[in-house]
């Protein structure tokens, strides 16, 4: 199929439709409102359901209801909106339902700003809402990758009966890139025989996350934990860049920041400094083993983020005390430049000599 030039938000919307994400609820919020605008036009054309809700709280609970009735339901929002959606996300996780949430992250905390950020890493990968659960978290670094991730997100949500979160910073949502919509094939999914579709010829299906008996609640927690372990075994995704030759520094970065790091690596090479990049594509499950494997070959690691340091905690956890793990980040909606990353690397190299 030929490539078309599309804005990230619209490309995500179109890809979701092609993946069968035909039930969409939304609330306008910069910098992701183009998804809603696109789908308000497009959903009626494809016979899907589109509704602008009264709040993000309502959106996540509409997704909860529709997912419970067996639909491929999803939504998009940005940081403050995702905070409001966490109620529904927790219920969806607790009721073991599939749903896809896209967070086009903006600067925070509070109302923050509308410019790109990676400040929602903790919220995305450590649970986010209340209770003992996690989302499978995917982080695209280009519009094409975001497009490719939507079918995967819906498939994995269905397969694990668990919320999947796609985390893109504002750059992913706003930039225009050529994209190609590919036909993805996944193994067959089990039937949704748990959905509330009317108890015709069967016992009633109950979608619920209330367990007043602690033993039964713990059974749920254990079942969820097993699900997350399976994700750790089978879903870890990452990109290695420049790791096929010796390097002194291992950069760890995801999303847009990883692209900046690739430019920084080229600039460092011109100055005779070898560096490589590990780009986590799944933020949960995190590529711990890969961090350790690649980190051992470097003098130190540098986690580069659009935050004041969130993923770096997971990099340190993965690396243990084997190698120093440093951090460089810009925040507030400011995107780090390759030159800044180069300077950060060089200052740590000099520091390690003394």
């Amino acid at each position: 199929m030929e490539k078309v030039l599309m804005k990230g938000n619209e490309a995500i919307a179109e890809s979701a439709i092609r993946a069968g994400g035909l039930v969409y609820f939304c609330y306008p919020l910069t910098p992701q409102s183009e998804v809603a605008e696109y789908l308000s036009r497009r959903m009626p054309e494809v016979g899907g359901a589109y509704l602008q809700a009264e709040s993000e709280v309502a959106v996540s609970n509409m997704v909860y209801g529709a997912a419970g009735a067996g639909a491929r339901a999803w939504t998009t929002s940005s940081s403050p909106g995702i905070s409001l959606m966490e109620e529904g996300i927790s219920y969806i996780a607790g009721s073991e339902l599939p749903a896809v949430f896209v967070n086009i992250v903006r600067a925070g905390p509070g109302l923050g700003g509308i410019l790109p950020s990676q400040g929602d890493y903790f919220q995305a990968v450590k649970g986010g809402g209340h209770g003992d659960y996690r989302c499978l978290v995917l982080a695209p670094s280009s519009v094409q990758e975001a497009v490719d991730m939507m079918p995967l997100a819906f498939d994995r949500a269905d397969r694990y009966r668990n919320p999947v979160m796609v985390v893109g910073d504002g750059m992913i949502g706003q930039m225009m890139e050529p994209v190609e919509f590919k036909d993805w094939k996944f193994p067959p999914l089990p039937p949704k025989d748990w959905a509330t579709t009317g108890a015709k010829g069967r016992r009633p299906n109950i979608v619920n996350s209330l367990y007043l008996n602690p033993a039964i609640e713990e059974d749920l927690n254990v079942r969820l934990a097993a699900k997350y372990e399976k994700m750790r075994r089978e879903e870890v995704r990452f990109e290695e860049y420049n790791t096929d030759k010796p390097y002194r520094v291992l950069l760890v970065a995801y999303g847009t920041t990883a692209r900046i790091c690739k430019t920084a690596i080229a600039q460092l090479a011109e100055q005779g400094i070898t560096a490589a990049l590990l780009r986590p594509i799944t933020l949960f499950p995190f590529p711990d083993a890969k961090v350790l494997e690649l980190g051992r070959k470097a003098e130190f690691l540098l986690s580069v983020e659009m935050s004041m340091g969130q993923m770096v905690e997971d990099v340190r956890y993965a690396m243990g005390h084997e190698k120093p793990v440093h951090f460089f980040g810009r925040a507030g909606g400011i995107v780090p430049s390759p030159e800044e990353v180069v300077t950060a690397v060089k200052s740590r190299l000099e520091g390690s000599k003394s």
Binding site: V23, E54, A58, G65, A69, A199, I206
Partner: protein
Amino acid sequence: MKTLFKRPESLTDVATHYCPGCTHGIAHRLIAEVVDELGLRERTVGIAPVGCSVLAFNYFNMDFQQAAHGRAPALATGIKRARPDLICFTYQGDGDLASIGMAEIIHAANRGEKFTVVFINNAVYGMTGGQMAPTTMPGQVTTTSPKGRDVSDVGYPVRMCELLASLRTPGFVERVAVHTPHQVVKARRVLKTAFELQRDNKCFTFVEVLSTCPTNWGLTPFEATKWLQEHMVPYYPVQNFKKSEEPAAAEPAKEA
């Protein structure tokens, strides 16, 4: 032999956890009878709230989803938008619907979502132990209004039917009571109308049921019915507030 009285198919054969004299049981049964009578059980999805009726999914013999506090109308919206062929009703108390869920109910009603809301108003938070609700009567003593509801401090009770009826879209809004046999018979008829309107894809349907809570009111079941009649009925008139035969969308838009 002729069967005169039996458990509706739409109810499960279990004992409920409701207190003696609580009218949840009557409301459950009326809904079940109506769903049975209209032959809708096999395509009905109920939404349980947070509150005393949080376990309603154990008592109704049909598909059910359990909602976060106040969000039942959002779940029902999600279900009906995804599956308009299903019949959906929410079952919500006054803390759930009139306090934390105010945004969800107003907007679901205003969009004219084609589901049925059964709103149980007993003027108190039941499950959490009898705290003041938005519907608590002026002067009514609760665990969080120990000197009685002071309207100069927390305002007057919210009248949901009147509030929703002020919107243009909602098609069917009616308040019923179940504290006398006569009212029970009337309530059943109103619930049937609401489910029929939904079945025929007509409009948003809202039925408020004035209910007793002897435990948290500190009254015997019989005293509670008297208290409801004397204190609630004058403030919450038992009547129809809105009934439209046609879907709201069919109304010509004529704005001044």
